[in-house]
Amino acid sequence: MNGYIALSYWDLVIAAVFLLLNGILSFRFHLGLERQLLVASVRMVIQLLLVGLLLKTIFAIASFWLTMLTALAMCGFAGREIWARQERRLRGIWGHGIGTGVMMVSGMTIILVALTTQIQPDPWWSPRYALPLFGMILGNTMTGISLGLNALNSTVPRERVAIEAQLLLGQTNWQAVAPFLQHALRIGFTPIINAMAATGVVSLPGMMTGQILSGVAPEEAVKYQLLIMFLIGGATGLGVLGSVLMSAWRLTDDRHRLRLDRLG
């Protein structure tokens, strides 16, 4: 790693001047954005500084259990976010459980395989590798799952008459929800498909940019980026598929009825 240029806090202050300029413009032209801009940027600064400190500590302690605990806490936050992004949710434990559970299983499986067979840091759970990669996988899986679940849970009640018409003609619950299941899956998959299609053409992905800035040769940075995109794609796909199918299963029952009473 040669050619890495360290930044001083003074450099950051200078960069922030442009954001400040935006705030002044907003105030001058009564756009009403200055408050939101201020809150968002202050939040960003505090959150990132804290994360920096936290990661520094976790890297220094380098404990397997602390790393696992951190990963679990990340799952908890992401699960909460999936729950919050749905307009209508399944009642009871299912509302939280399906999104969080499926995301955790698919994310953990993928990262485990990647760490033990492809990246192979020493030890394999080394937090310096495990946590940032897990964060990237989790963030994308979270977006896919919340979009997919939200689409399913809003489409199925809207299409109640069409679904029940099929059930009444003797179709099974899976046949009856199939068109709307496909719709939800498509919506859940869209961001990752778009991200893969546009990556490198419109902008360089953040991780690759970071590696290049820290002196890694571009072709090496590309390899890392491809690896992480495959991992993200895999985890998002599994997560969207698993959570949407489980929710659809929960929205119908073994007598092939539509159970909108299970939706909050």
Binding site: Q166, L169, P179
Partner: protein, 203 residues
């Protein structure tokens, strides 16, 4: 011998201790809006969670899959549902329906129509044709003629009479008194989820 028999049919808003419908019978169900007429039909078709013993021709509902049951005890709700763009996609490919469609007063090309361009009367007649094409033993019809003009109503009633004479039975929810008088072999009145008037079996 009762074709359709209902014992202790119970759901949160419904309690029917006993109801029998014989072959060839048309039982007209009336009652105010919200009395539970549609709920009764939905519960018989097993579309809402419910308890109780329902049987067709002596065969218990519980011994059949829900899909098999619904093909023989066919409910056509007041609002018809559509899930594809063309009418044809809503019919099974291997069932001849031209005759049925003609007998309901629709032209044979109705199958190739787009669902979005159907009138409410056409929608409803096609939904009934779709259901009757399964040749169900029991028909549960919820206000089948509410959107139909007098001629279309006449067509439908004659098709239903034909089916009844072939040994099926019919539970018919209607607000139309004249229709009730024309079709009913027996009438019941429902209020607050219970049968409050009428005979629960053929005498």
């Amino acid at each position: 011998m009762a074709l359709l028999r209902i014992e202790e049919l119970t759901s949160p808003l419904l309690h029917i201790p006993w109801l029998e419908v014989a072959e060839g019978e048309c039982v007209v169900i009336s009652g105010e809006s919200g009395a539970g007429k549609s709920l009764l039909l939905r519960s018989i078709a097993d579309l809402d969670p419910n308890k109780g013993e329902v049987s067709l021709d002596g065969r218990s509902r519980a011994s059949m899959s829900a899909c098999e049951w619904r093909r023989q005890v066919m409910l056509v709700p007041a609002e018809s549902g559509w899930w594809a763009d063309t009418v044809e996609a809503h019919f099974l490919a291997d069932q001849p329906v031209d005759e049925l469609i003609a007998s309901l007063g629709l032209p044979p090309e109705a199958l190739s129509w787009e669902v979005a361009r159907l009138s409410s009367g056409e929608r409803h007649r096609l939904a009934i044709a779709r259901a009757l094409s399964f040749r169900p033993r029991a028909m549960l019809l919820d206000e089948p003629t509410a959107a139909l003009d007098p001629i279309a109503t006449e067509h439908l009633e004659s098709v239903l009479r034909h089916r009844l004479s072939d040994g099926t039975c019919l539970l018919l929810v209607t607000h139309d008194r004249d229709q009730a008088a024309r079709m009913a072999t027996r009438s019941i009145v429902i209020a607050e989820g219970r049968i409050v008037q009428g005979s629960v079996s053929a005498t």
